[in-house]
Amino acid sequence: MQLHALRRAAALACLAAGGAAAQPTPDTQALRREIDALRADYERRLQALEQRLQAAEAAVAAPPAAPPAREPAPALATASPAAPGGRGLDLTLILSGQVQRTRLDPASYRIRGFALPPDAEIGPGTRGFSLAETELTLAANIDPWWRGAATFALTPENELEVEEAYVQTTALGRGLGVRAGRFLSSIGYLNAQHRHAWDFADAPLAYQAMLGTQFADDGLQLAWVAPTERFFELRAEVGRGRSFPGSDTSRNGAGAAVLSAHAGDDIGSSHSWRAGLSYLRARASGQELAATDSAGNDVVNAFTGSSRVWIADAVYRWAPGGNPRQRNFKLQGEYLHATRAGELVVDTAGLAAPGGFRSVQSGWYLQGVYQFMPRWRFGLRTERLQPGNPQLGANAGLLDPGAGTPRKHTLMLEHNPSEFSRIRLQLANDRARGAGPTDLQWLLQYQMSLGAHGAHGF
């Protein structure tokens, strides 16, 4: 800051000096004298700064002399104000890239029986070499009462997305916390985590199909941790409902509401668990959904109505003696159940046939990740969806429901040279398209973080 001001002042002084030299008048001579004085002053201050810098470097470079051992306690040097979260701005940058090989064209990807917006980010993404999202997180305490954090995602298409940007209270006490802004919803287990914290490169099919990969909303969240021995937490959210299964509209009031409850504890010193139940209700109005009509053409439908999603999640972790450093194991599973009811206009661009709509769908995944030696982890995920039979009312027979049950199995091998770097190989047998050919997906990716120390969540 100081240096900046100095440099600017010096530049100004030089400019002024140059201008003055062109027209030497008594006025400008006085000005020049002033500038010279100013310059001399700044040079003195610069020299002083340089000397201080050299002294500091010398002090640091000198090997710490072993002080003579003595009985009285060592004298207290300056107490460092450093405390977790008590310092300035925490900055974290996630760098990620990948190379992928898929048997089927990712452009043809769909999850059979689940109608999603045409721009939904589902499937394996692009083939070949590609950059994954670059994520920048800034976080700091604002004042004694608030903390702020923002995460920006730079997509490989050179777009900037505000993934999260929120403020939250730090001084309410009584286990209460309020958050406002855009944030990842607390539903389920994976949803609240940033994707680089996931154990697999992609979201489970159930998340892609029923939450549009990850549900983040603009709104308010109230969290409460109960004053009990066992961990018990309630979170309630109201928000705009801007992302799937909601849709962004210009309504007053809330478009989505979330309730979640989680409990967790240790069993002995080596085992721990967390389990929860969440409920999401979101309204959609004129939500565009991609579908295929009975003639096999791609059409866009419009859905107006409400969605309810129930999620049951459970995580179990094992670490011998509570020390995960050598070996550890994590088992997690979630079950999602989604109901959508309202009106569906089939083929908005052509037929535009309105009718009632109701669907009841569900899905689950189960995954285990084992760290068999330091730095190496191995994981297996298996998942399945139940598309159900949507009731189309007057439009029955206009759309092709497809056939088959979406299924997927994924294998993962991970090498973590340090806490901050990861190289992951993932192989998936993907039958999300239902009946028909199976997609085989190979993925090699890196994920690295630089900046502030990432926290080890549960």
Binding site: E57, V60, P64, A66, P67, A69, E71, A73, P74, A75, L76, A77, A79, S80, A82, A83, P84, G86, P144, R147, T170, A171, L172, R174, G175, L176, G177, A223, W224, V225, P227, E229, R230, F231, F232, E233, H262, A263, G264, D265, S272, W273, R317, A319, G321, G322, N323, P324, R325, P374, R375, S418, E419, F420, H453, G454, A455, H456, G457, F458
Partner: protein
């Protein structure tokens, strides 16, 4: 019927008393590491209810922010941690999720021990290419008992501040502890005199404060960089170093993988000193005094000078 009612009312009154009790009960001190829980117990006695979030079998750098830990921080009146970024990977998460305003940094209910001692090994730059170095200096301050005394002074002050009604009792307990501790430090220093100047190898840079106190010289470290697991290549290079400058022992902690130290002990014919590191790290190290008794005894045994 009436007697029934009476017993009901009695039961209700008892239940009410039971509910009311926690309000006037002991101050709940939650420590990030076992040594601070033990210190709080020494200084608070029956006035406090002290517990640690981690054990001596766990690596304090690598702790998962488990739900049970969030619940413990939620209910704490005073949080005592090492600080100096030792808990940077998990404590911020616990603090944010606990919703407990009393123990946030800067509050009287948050004590960072490392803020109150002279720190060693403060790096010129905290570049991650140097491994998991802490910008604030080496955080393992509790391995020097003189630091324990400094932290004890601060902890007594905090206990008095938070539980002002019993400030006198804390003052008495604090003074008694300081006197006891000063005598013990003198005893340990005398016992450990033969260790002065001995060259040692450490598995992790976890004992710089202990070495500083007893005058041991660290000639090599098995971890190539702080927090990075020892590799075979690096162990070989340490072995080569030892041919030029022989060490008298290889020092590791209870929570660490014993194999790298065992390998060096076998191949370099160096005795092993497996130290408890903190309270609970060995059978003997049941409290703070026993921790240093055991540590000094194990060092002397390894040096063969007992």
């Amino acid at each position: 019927m009436i007697s029934h009612c009476k017993s009901w009312i009695g039961g209700l009154a008892l239940a009410c008393a039971g509910l009311a009790l926690p309000a006037q009960a002991a101050l709940r001190v939650v420590a990030c590491e076992p040594e601070w829980a033990a210190l709080a117990q020494e200084l608070g006695g029956a006035l406090v209810e002290a517990s640690a979030l981690t054990t001596a079998q766990q690596d304090p750098h690598r702790i998962q922010a488990r739900p049970s830990l969030i619940a413990r921080v939620r209910n704490a009146d005073l949080l005592v941690c090492t600080g100096a970024e030792l808990e940077a990977g998990w404590l911020p998460l616990l603090l944010q999720q606990s919703g407990n305003a009393k123990v946030q940094p800067g509050q009287p209910g948050h004590l960072a021990a490392a803020d109150h001692v002279r720190k060693l090994e403060i790096p010129a730059s905290a570049d991650r290419s140097q491994g998991d170095v802490h910008a604030a200096g080496n955080p393992h301050i509790h391995t020097d008992p003189r630091n324990i005394a400094l932290v004890a002074t601060q902890l007594t002050r905090r206990l008095q501040q938070l539980d002002a009604a019993r400030a006198g009792e804390y003052a008495g307990r604090g003074a008694a502890f300081q006197q006891r501790w000063q005598q013990a430090v003198t005893r340990w220093s005398a016992q450990a005199a033969p260790l002065r100047g001995l060259p040692v190898v450490s598995q992790h840079k976890g004992y710089v404060y202990l070495y500083d106190w007893l005058g041991l010289k660290e000639v090599a470290v098995l971890e190539p960089k702080p927090g990075v697991e020892p590799s075979v290549a690096h162990l070989q290079s340490v072995l080569a170093t030892l041919q030029a400058t022989p060490a008298r022992m290889v020092v590791s902690s209870a929570y660490q993988d014993p194999r790298p130290s065992e390998w060096l002990a076998r191949n370099g014919a160096v005795p092993m000193a497996r130290l408890p590191f903190t309270v609970g790290g060995s059978e003997a190290a049941r409290d703070l005094t026993a921790l240093f008794d055991d540590t000094v005894a194990r060092l002397l045994a390894a040096a063969g000078t007992r």
